[in-house]
């Protein structure tokens, strides 16, 4: 098998099938990607609406969510906002991790992969989390987790252990047999009062600080690896193990990763975006107050532009600000909001085949269309033009500001689509916005721009 930049040899069989999609599996990433303004229960309910088929009633879904809340010990914080770990009032790190696991559990996976679930948690939360995992395993799932520094009582919660050293296996099998295996190779190696997990990681670690130390430690490690390699042959020598055969006859059929119909995705995502926009300080409150504030500042700066020759220059500058002042700020505002958590959540859900790009974009525009896309430019435009005393058709001003607003929010999305990171995306947005502003004709008469760059006025979203 050969991927774009990956070559894989050997086999991985899930109940005898080599395709992971024939079984349900879920993967919990190392970092939590959750919307901070939703409560734990809401997070799980929205995830359930996306994950479970539309035929399920909302009653059934909420029943399942309650079951998961109980199972994962989230009862105390079910009504608490998830939070982002910085502000007060949100869930603790351990609770957020369990919410992430809960979201994945909604698919009722037979296999649960976790990537360092205890990273960043204190010893007690880590212990409770692994106990939760143990409980999930006891219900019949295969739970596989990588872990960095398990404390000793966590270590003994694991049923099985796979110890890796630079891509080689040093041990795999029951945790109970692990220490005696290494004691046979390195008698007396594990001193009392040493965490066995630390000891195991130590003995297979290669010290690569200096060349000499590296060679020496590599030799030691190689001894262990060779010993296991021999042992491994007797364990896994035959291609067909009894373990595989025992499950092959299972009656289950293929279950693909599912995605809800388009309209349902739009419906769920719109409802979720509406809720988070209203609650998020960078949503409704942020965008409205920004528009009012900017309108006031600009309006007072250009208060009652005099109706004479001197006023013409001011009027031109004011009109430039009307179309560009608000929209320029809003590009950065939108990019910030997108890169904070929205696009990460989209990436995760799209990766899990739960939402499509089209549904996500449509739902975002519907939700923001109701709450922001018209109201925000209207607020700004009304305040500014009233204070500045623009004459003429207010409808034209309004339409221009709304169109400018739409141009920038979609442009911000384009930048984020290219570059997921805030600093890079904002550089890209700045670059294009600046070029467009200069080509707009407010600074240079479009007709006097040299012929070879005159086309720029056609790519500018504001042309005077």
């Amino acid at each position: 098998m050969r991927g774009p930049n990956l070559t894989i040899a050997g086999s991985t069989r899930y109940n005898g099938s080599s395709d992971l999609l024939t079984v349900t599996s879920a993967y919990v990433t190392q970092t939590d990607v959750l919307l901070p303004s939703l409560t734990v229960r809401e997070t799980l309910l929205y995830a359930a609406s996306l994950r479970l088929p539309p035929s399920t009633t909302s009653q059934q879904r909420s029943q399942l969510v309650e079951e998961i809340i109980l199972e994962l010990g989230l009862k105390e914080c079910a009504g608490t906002r998830v939070g982002d770990g910085f502000k007060k009032g949100g869930c603790s790190g351990g609770e957020r991790r369990r919410v992430s696991i809960g979201v994945q559990m909604l698919g009722n996976p037979s296999i649960l992969f976790l990537d360092e679930p205890t990273t960043g948690l204190d010893a007690t939360s880590a212990f409770h989390l692994v106990k939760t995992l143990k409980h999930l395993a006891n219900t019949g799932r295969a739970v596989i987790t990588t872990i960095h520094q398990p404390r000793s009582d966590i270590f003994f919660l694991f049923d099985r252990l796979t110890l890796l050293s630079r891509g080689d296996v040093a041990y795999t099998g029951a945790t109970s047999g692990c220490l005696s295996w290494f004691d046979g190779l390195l008698p007396g190696g594990l001193r009392p009062h040493v965490n066995p997990a630390d000891y195991l990681i130590d003995i297979v670690a290669v010290d690569n600080r200096t060349k000499e130390a590296e060679d020496e430690s590599q030799l030691k490690v190689n001894r262990l690896l060779v010993a296991w390699s021999e042992e491994s042959k007797s364990h896994f020598g035959r291609e067909d193990t009894t373990l595989e055969k025992s499950r092959v006859t299972s009656e289950r059929t293929k279950r693909t990763k599912q995605s809800a119909p388009f309209l349902r995705q739009v419906q769920v995502l719109t409802s979720r975006t509406l809720l988070t926009t209203i609650r998020d300080p960078f949503g409704l409150v942020g965008s409205w107050s920004q528009a009012i504030f900017m309108g006031l500042i600009f309006g007072l700066m250009f208060y009652r532009i005099p109706n004479n020759l001197a006023g013409v220059r001011s009027t031109q500058a004011a009109i430039y600000l009307l179309v560009f002042g608000h929209s320029y700020l809003f590009i950065l505002f939108e990019i910030y909001r997108l890169t904070r958590v929205d696009i990460k959540l989209f990436d995760r859900e799209r990766g899990e085949n739960l939402v499509t790009s089209a549904a996500w974009i449509v739902s975002r525009r519907i939700a923001h269309g109701i709450l922001e896309d018209f109201i925000v430019p209207f607020l700004f435009c009304f305040i500014f033009s009233y204070l500045a005393g623009f004459r003429g058709n207010i409808g034209i001003f309004l339409a221009t500001t709304v169109l400018g607003h739409y141009a920038v929010v979609t442009f911000a999305l384009l930048c984020v689509a290219f570059l997921r990171n805030f600093s890079l995306a904002s550089v890209m947005a700045n670059l294009f916005a600046t070029v467009q502003a200069y080509a707009s004709g407010f600074f240079v008469q479009a007709s006097s721009i040299p012929i070879y760059v005159q086309w720029m006025k056609y790519v500018s979203y504001l042309v005077s």
């Binding site: 049923d159 599912q258 995605s259």
Partner: protein
């Protein structure tokens, strides 16, 4: 009836769609087969047991040698990296996993431990080959860039920020 060795496409046809309570919906020209496991029993206590058997699994990844390093290696004849396969066009192969055999039976909690860079996770790959990855479904994080103090003895992973 899932018979090992049958292809995915064959298996879809064998599913009795109505009985399983499934949905198929046309989304942007793609057909999604939605089979429901929860319809009969909306409880997640009913788990279909799955055993995982990994046999002789080896994973190699292409690592792009940074241009500057490749150039330096050319002139100073330094060894560019502890990688197999030699250097061809600035791309080298690094073994992430070598001959791993392990069982992960249903109903057990398994830990994979090891020092940094031992191959625990971070086999990052395109989503389409997700199904072949074993212990390590691909993550969206870039692979760890580990560079030892030895100039040029470790390969440098190509980073990608977008999926």
């Amino acid at each position: 009836m899932a018979v090992p060795g049958t292809t995915v496409g064959e298996r879809i046809e064998k599913v009795d769609l109505r009985e399983e309570g499934s949905f198929s919906h046309e989304v942007a020209g793609m057909e999604w087969h939605i089979l429901d496991d929860h319809q009969q029993n909306l409880s997640f206590s009913d788990v279909h047991p799955v055993d995982i058997a990994v046999r002789n699994l080896g994973v190699e990844v292409d690592v792009a040698t940074p241009f500057a390093d490749a150039l330096k290696a050319k002139f100073t004849r330094l060894k560019v990296g502890d990688v197999e396969g030699g250097e061809k066009g600035g791309v080298q192969r690094k073994k992430i996993l070598k001959d791993v055999s392990a069982d992960f039976p249903a109903g057990t909690l398994t830990a994979i431990i090891g020092g940094s860079g031992s191959g625990k996770v971070r086999v990052r790959s395109a989503r389409e080959i997700r199904s072949h990855i074993l212990l390590f479904p691909p993550t969206d994080d870039p692979p760890q860039c580990s560079r030892s103090s030895h100039a040029g003895t470790k390969p440098y992973h190509r980073r990608k920020h977008t999926i």
